[in-house]
């Protein structure tokens, strides 16, 4: 890169709640708009303290959980290459009520991660994203309820309804 004005998208924090993020462009925009609370007050900033940080913690925890489930899920599906019996035997465990609750939790985690992921993308790319991050978090939670509640009603009916 030739010397010159930094492209803000290249800024990356390496420590703290902002780690791995390159949202300084968004944070700066927020500062310019005067909607930025001064650091060192209890109000926090975009990713430190309050909703900004907790939504990030939840995003990280759900992301890691989904990743480890995916590792296992590819392996259990690979049993179709072993034999129909082997696959059916292991998949049968996914149908018991305890696992059914686990699946419900997993879907709830994926849906949160997905919608909050969209919020992160909007914070980074939409010019009013940073200013509206808190409102968008409410949007994420509302969409989450709208998606997860009907899912739970149907999935738990299937799991506990028996066959």
């Amino acid at each position: 890169m030739t010397p010159g004005p930094a492209r803000s998208a290249q800024w990356q924090c390496i420590r703290g709640p902002l780690a791995g993020r390159k949202t300084d462009a968004a944070a700066l925009r927020l500062m310019k708009q005067g909607g930025y609370s001064v650091p060192n007050t209890s109000k926090g900033t975009l990713y430190r303290g309050r909703q900004g940080m907790w939504s990030w913690v939840a995003h990280r925890v759900t992301g890691i959980a989904i990743f480890f489930f995916l590792l296992v899920h590819v392996l259990d599906t690979a049993l179709v290459r072993v034999s129909p019996e082997a696959y059916n035997h292991v998949i049968a465990t996914y149908k018991n009520p305890i696992m059914g609750l686990g699946e419900a939790g997993l879907v709830a985690a994926i849906v949160y991660h997905a919608f909050n992921g969209l919020r992160i993308i909007l914070i980074d790319f939409w010019k009013n994203g940073a200013k509206n991050q808190k409102a968008m978090l409410w949007g994420v939670l509302i969409l989450w309820v709208i998606a997860v509640v009907p899912f739970l009603v149907r999935h738990l009916a299937i799991v506990f309804g028996g066959h």
Binding site: Q12, A114, H163
Partner: protein, 161 residues
């Protein structure tokens, strides 16, 4: 925006870039854009994964008998169709790379010792590579009607033995 890369403090470096007496030390031409592409990849794959994963969950858990309908015959029926083969293949690669890169970030954040970070990431990449290999092979080499299988367990379109 004034560039924060500018510094007037002379820090001795093996290779100083200076323009108009101002040193730009942090953006040497040797640096590549890997991190920027990784960052972009997280966002692009995320958007695609919403469609792929929501579709996957809906078809497998909400339609028909939901989780009760999943067995060898169900998977065989889906993968007999190139549409679902392609869907699952793209979903596998996008999600595995997204998840691996995400966990890489987490390791970088919390593992402070160089050696710990190195080994954790080595383990991560090996595990991810293995899962990608297995998953891809399974999608491509799967046969819905294996010879000699119990006819009651295979998809209904399989020829009677």
């Amino acid at each position: 925006m004034a560039t924060p890369l500018k510094t007037r403090i002379a820090v001795p470096r093996s290779r100083d870039n200076s323009v108009d007496g101002i040193k730009y030390n942090r953006s040497g031409s040797k640096r590549n854009n890997f991190e920027m592409f990784a960052w972009l990849y997280m966002r692009v794959s995320g958007v695609l994964l919403i469609v792929l994963i929501f579709g996957h969950l809906f078809v497998n858990l909400m339609m028909g008998d939901g989780v009760h309908a999943i067995d060898f015959g169900f998977v065989g029926g889906k993968w007999a169709n190139p549409f679902w083969q392609t869907w699952d293949l793209i979903m596998l690669w996008l999600a595995m790379i997204h998840g691996t890169n995400g966990v890489r970030t987490v390791i970088d954040d919390y593992a402070e010792k160089d050696r710990t970070r190195f080994w954790l990431k080595t383990l991560l990449f090996l595990a991810s590579g293995f899962i990608l290999l297995v998953g891809t092979l399974v999608i491509f080499t799967f046969s819905p009607c294996p010879t000699g299988a119990d006819p009651s367990l295979v998809p209904s379109f399989c020829p009677a033995p």
